[in-house]
Symmetry: C2
Subunit: 385 residues, 2 copies
């Protein structure tokens, strides 16, 4: 096992009806800003429920956070926070709303140009406004971590930051709030969570059996409940397990003490920035090809994945790896998420366009050993077409 530090102070409040606890979770005297997205929380009743619970608090609101939250939009929230002397932020939505809220929490009290937060990965953040989250979409894990990804629209740049000051103080997870989500969002969420686990698991052996088995636990659960969540949207058990698995997939626990990859995410980010393809769709496009191209570097863990996650025990090593990659692709397709660039109408010229962006962004030494250069990324993209 590698050396590690693990710290995660987010208080999880899980279950049907738990939004009522906002009455005490949000500090009594706070000037609260409720941040949300495009209005789906108004259609499904979550907005009314939250506002009703906070009726004795001082509450303002900020809406219109995009699916890939932009720097430009979130700077408008920062201006409102300063103008109205807001001192507590409540994100109500999915990962995009929570990511955007984390940035606003830090930017509102940042000394200097807030864009620096991204160019320095968040390392100079010394404080942030306190924030909480009400999760409506199981997917990114943002509700229980300290990471955020924001897009600058003018340059089509998607950049992350992390800092311990932006952990939510609490996250309310009510599985019933996911019942009204479109199938596409549930499918994307399950794929996103699945690939989060894979990025922290499918690397090379690090003698970390607890982390390996926890990762396999989440993959097995997502494979089970993902299709059920599409088939029976109002099944509380299914939605609760999808929600908890997605949260556990990226809260730092399974990645503690083990190598991590993230090359699939970084290639995927360029596809989203260039062609506005959903984040999870880009992961479904890239991952099967990434595993195929990097089968030598990931050999031992691919065989373990084939055996323990998919129950593949017969055939040569390469046949088992092929079968595990095929099962992975089939799972994404069964969730309704297409797995090839051409499925999304992209021309073959997209391969070079993505490579140019990777080069421009310095993404030339990716993966768990830093050896995924542009030549390897080219093979991955060609296999993804």
């Amino acid at each position: 096992m590698l050396q590690f530090e693990f710290y995660n102070p987010v208080q999880i409040v899980f279950g049907e009806g738990q939004i009522a606890k906002l009455a005490t979770l949000v500090p009594e005297k706070a000037r609260v800003l409720v941040l949300y997205g495009g209005g789906s929380i108004k259609k499904n009743g979550t907005y009314t429920e939250v506002m009703d619970v906070l009726k004795n608090h001082s509450v303002a609101e900020f809406s219109g956070i995009e699916a890939n939250p932009t720097y430009e939009t979130m700077m408008k929230a920062v201006a409102q926070i300063k103008a109205e002397k807001i001192d507590f932020l409540l994100a109500v939505g999915g990962g995009s709303v929570i990511d955007g809220t984390k940035f606003a929490a830090a930017a509102a009290v940042y000394e200097g140009d807030p864009w620096e937060i991204f160019t320095t990965g968040g390392q100079y953040i010394k404080a942030a406004l306190p924030l909480g989250a009400v999760l409506t979409l199981p997917a990114t894990g943002s509700e229980m971590n300290n990471g955020s990804v924001i897009t600058r629209s003018e340059t089509k740049t998607k950049l992350p930051f992390m800092n311990r000051h932006v952990f939510p103080q609490f996250a309310v997870l009510d599985p019933t709030k996911t019942y009204s989500l479109p199938a596409r969002q549930i499918a994307n969420g399950a794929v996103d969570a699945f690939v989060h686990v894979v990025e922290q698991y499918l690397t090379y052996p690090a003698n970390a059996p607890v982390q390996d088995r926890f990762a396999e636990s989440l993959l097995q659960t997502l494979i089970e409940v993902g299709p059920q969540a599409l088939a029976t949207p109002h099944d509380y058990t299914v939605r609760s397990n999808l929600m908890w698995a997605a949260t556990m997939a990226l809260n730092g626990l399974i990645g503690a003490g083990v190598p991590q990859d993230w090359a699939t995410h970084l290639l995927g980010h360029e596809l989203t920035a260039l062609y506005n393809i959903d984040h999870a769709q880009t992961l479904a496009i890239i991952l099967p090809s990434m595993l195929n191209v990097r089968r030598a570097a990931k050999r031992e863990k691919l065989l373990q994945y084939a055996d323990r996650v998919w129950g593949i025990k017969e055939g040569s090593e390469d046949a088992r790896i092929d079968a595990a990659i095929a099962k992975t692709r089939d799972f994404f397709e069964a969730m309704g998420v297409k797995t090839r660039m051409r499925d999304y109408g992209l021309e073959v010229s997209a391969i070079n366009a993505v490579l140019e962006q990777l080069k421009a962004h310095g993404m030339v030494a990716l993966g768990e050993r830093g050896d995924v250069d542009l030549a390897i990324s080219k093979l991955v993209l060609e296999g993804s077409y």
Copy 2:
């Protein structure tokens, strides 16, 4: 899945050499009290290492915390804390030292009689001194939770409390610090962690596949690394996985959203209080009989345990349950922990003596459904003899 809240703000600092980080983990200006046990940390060098790292801090010390820490001893620490205006506690040792330190942290600032902390389960604790831990013995999980168990010697009463103010701020886990432990303590630690998992897992199905699989992950890992830890004491990989599994076994995660039992612990506590038998030994005595007596109430989970943890797939349901219980007993015995009361020289009269104590302490409705009355406890104890 049941409703739950999960909160665990302990910063874990894991790996060889990480004690060096105490220099910054312990606040610079603090008046520190280092608390420890019987002096084994002096023999193995941990004491010198800790004191050397803290050489620029203001440091006092308190030693002599027992294997089952007593109220009487810890009240002496409280007196020293008050007299010397200590404002940070650093526990260096195993679960007993950390448990004792948690009590001292709360008692030092408690308004009223500190014994109330136990009679009220810790619910009226409004503050505690900040504390950190350097773990030298993987076993109880106290380094990453907010629980503590203290014994009042005069009445032979072993009582727990929990409160969020006594979470350690950090816990340093250096697996090499366990190399010099006697085999008995390593064996006890593995058994203790194993039974912690079982108490949160072997109840009734609650549609919580992530929690179930995480629990099974820990059991499988303990079964693997427990005997290896005895056979090759200086194997870093083995000791690191034993340490991390034991910490994860009781940090609130696998018990979130599922029923919990704890009857084995409560019967075991009485055996320790009456006959001074090691905590883990009492668990090894009670658990196999508890599972056997309660096989109807735990049927589905016992079958799942047999299948997924022990790979038992053949035979009738009762035969599989019998085999799983036998494997559990064999595991404890292979660790060198005897599993019957008579192995520890107890007379058969001990059964009634324990029952009297259970009755006196109101332990008459135990288990995940509260239906383990004195009649059932009697059957369990008879089966444990």
